[in-house]
Symmetry: C4
Subunit: 227 residues, 4 copies
């Protein structure tokens, strides 16, 4: 009897727990983003130089810095995206946590592929550079796909959203993720076939465009409506 | 007199402090989980390759990626577990903090054993691979034992739990931890005796099964009761 | 009709979201500062010594410790600065987030340049040491410029500040950032032309002076007014 | 006129800001402690082994594991100490922030000295081992001294403490810090003169004793009073 009631109480809380507030998911994600964006700097390190060769080593490593800036911008845009997504979420269930962990998993691959690109540029082999840029593009595709999963999940679970947010909002966001998949696929493939600096420049512009356009589309829609 | 009263006041606060809210334990644990899950990516790094050998190096390192995915899933399941455990805790005393630090200690070993497995697979020595997989299994056993301690402590300290949670809930959870101990022991031992890819596949499935079953059992119980 | 209303609701939330509270920016920044200040310790590591040479290696590496203390103080002063800046901010928009990400980007370069200085001192080449100190000064200039951007943005967006803070406050703060740009430029240039220990000493004193003076100016102004 | 009032408003907020709530200091400190306790695991890594030598390498590295466990316990005790200290603090001023940064600075040295001890034990030179243990003891002394500064500051600034906490509480805590200074000095000196395993065992017991005794003294005092 008593133990039966105990059991039921525990399950009521568990039911509530399955749709808990998003505080811990946000704190955990912020820490992961912070570590990833800071790990990138580890690859700037000068490996081995002859005495007196520091200035030359610093100046010839400009593609490494470009890769660093590109990845920093990319992680930053993802964090801003994550922030504005979770701002619209009221509570989280198990599925949303896994979708979020998928995004974090994909972002965590960025220091790895950035290091692969840096290393390939350092060795200077043309074939390796192409492979490295293609790998970077592949991770961009995976990351966009992870966002697509998250948006798709949210578009099907309106009960997790803030009161004023409609599932339709995230249904539309899926288009942005699809654009990302295509853009990184094209950048990776063509980039690896043309030239590494050109590919890095494209990959540098992608987060910039992504960050600016999302804001721009929004402002545009707002201005048109407010007229 | 006055100093006596001062002393007593301080002790009243200290008594309250011994059973403080769980905010800092959660923030600290989230940061530790975030660092551990991100440190794993450091082992993906390509160590040294001849020029033009990047594609080959990337393709032949698939067991390293499998180890990475396995460990990522394992840490993720532990974080979800930690979240749903602390969701049921109202306040923390010294003993609970140490039990929690024991869980974090065991989780922190995962990047180390993942690196040992990656390194053993890289060298390719059959004996080393067996040792590495056994070590991974051993850490799985230690981690499950740490959860067992935490659950056992909570089952004995109902005064630390949320109002609607009964100590019996955590008494039952101990069974899951015991299952984990046995599963990782079996996986480590048989895995090291059969083959490393097979063992990695088993270790990959364990967190998946663990994550799904805990949810499944719960839903099953709920559905049966709600009929 | 209905979808039109859905759309509008979503946009109202988005408009609110564009000027959200600063909680996540602060949590993310704190984590980044914490990682950067802790990454510095990785460069203290003794690389390779002959048996019995530990004491000698420890004693001869004093410039490395000086660089470590300098960078620790520098990051600490930046964190205190960040804390007192965001204490005056009520909500954040997209522009403020990017200005903040610019500051974090510049701070994240400190472990890199600290490592370059340590490495140059270890190799002992006079020319490399000069280059390393100049690079350290350059990052100091970049960091001060990032603060200048942040202060300038806040001086133009009074609507983001706490009720009692005026944009004029941050207009004045820009002077401190300008002083920082000049001080680090001078320290880098002259330091690289005179001697590395002297330059490190100057770079050590800069954050001390910066931390003390900002407080001192404030106290001075307050005392004069309260008379 | 108006600008004068603006200026005054800003200063009022600044005055409030100088004694702000402790939220950010706690979040920052938690992140630093989490990183330090997790960085320790990086030194467990097996450096270079001949094929088939993994088991032997793992078994012969037991002093490294002992050093790891010792340092983990030491950081954990420091975190618990930090938590119970800041639990008694109502607000923080500039001086308290610097005292806290001093504690974090000293704790951040632990992964470094733990790595030095591990490395010395690996090389196996008796003289180096003594130097490494002495260095570990020295950092223990520095860390205890940092706590002494923090406690001393709090004993002189009762206005920063929670309403029910008296400055006398922290005046008494200074004794514990003094004991720590002496204990680590003795452990470092005698340890380096006797044997490294013995010294590591002593350094392992110190945090255990420290953690248990502080609780024990408190419980003892409480029990005597409640009779």
């Amino acid at each position: 009897m008593d133990s039966d009631r105990d059991q039921r109480d525990a399950e009521d809380v568990e039911a509530a727990g399955l749709r808990s507030d998003t505080g811990r998911a946000i704190g955990f994600s912020d820490a992961v983003f912070a570590i990833i964006i800071t790990l990138l700097v580890l690859d700037l390190r000068i490996p081995e130089i002859p005495p007196g060769g520091l200035l030359h080593a610093l100046l010839t490593r400009w593609p490494v810095y470009l890769a660093y800036v590109t990845s920093y911008l990319y992680v930053a845009v993802n964090w801003l995206n994550h922030k504005s997504t979770f701002y619209r979420i009221r509570c989280a269930d198990r599925g949303l946590h896994w979708a979020n962990l998928g995004v974090l998993f994909s972002v965590a691959l960025l220091p790895f592929v950035t290091a692969v690109v840096s290393q390939a540029v350092e060795v200077g082999d043309r074939f390796d550079e192409g492979v490295a840029v293609a790998l970077y593009g592949l991770v961009g595709v995976i990351l966009s796909a992870a966002w697509l999963c998250l948006y798709h999940y949210l578009s099907r679970h309106g009960e997790l959203l803030q009161r004023h947010v409609t599932p339709r909002f995230f249904a539309v966001e899926r288009l942005r993720a699809l654009l990302g998949i295509m853009a990184y696929a094209v950048a990776g493939v063509t980039g690896s076939l043309v030239s590494v600096p050109a590919a890095l420049a494209v990959l540098l512009l992608l987060p910039l465009f992504y960050g600016l356009s999302s804001n721009g589309f929004y402002d545009l829609r707002r201005r048109l409506r407010n007229r």
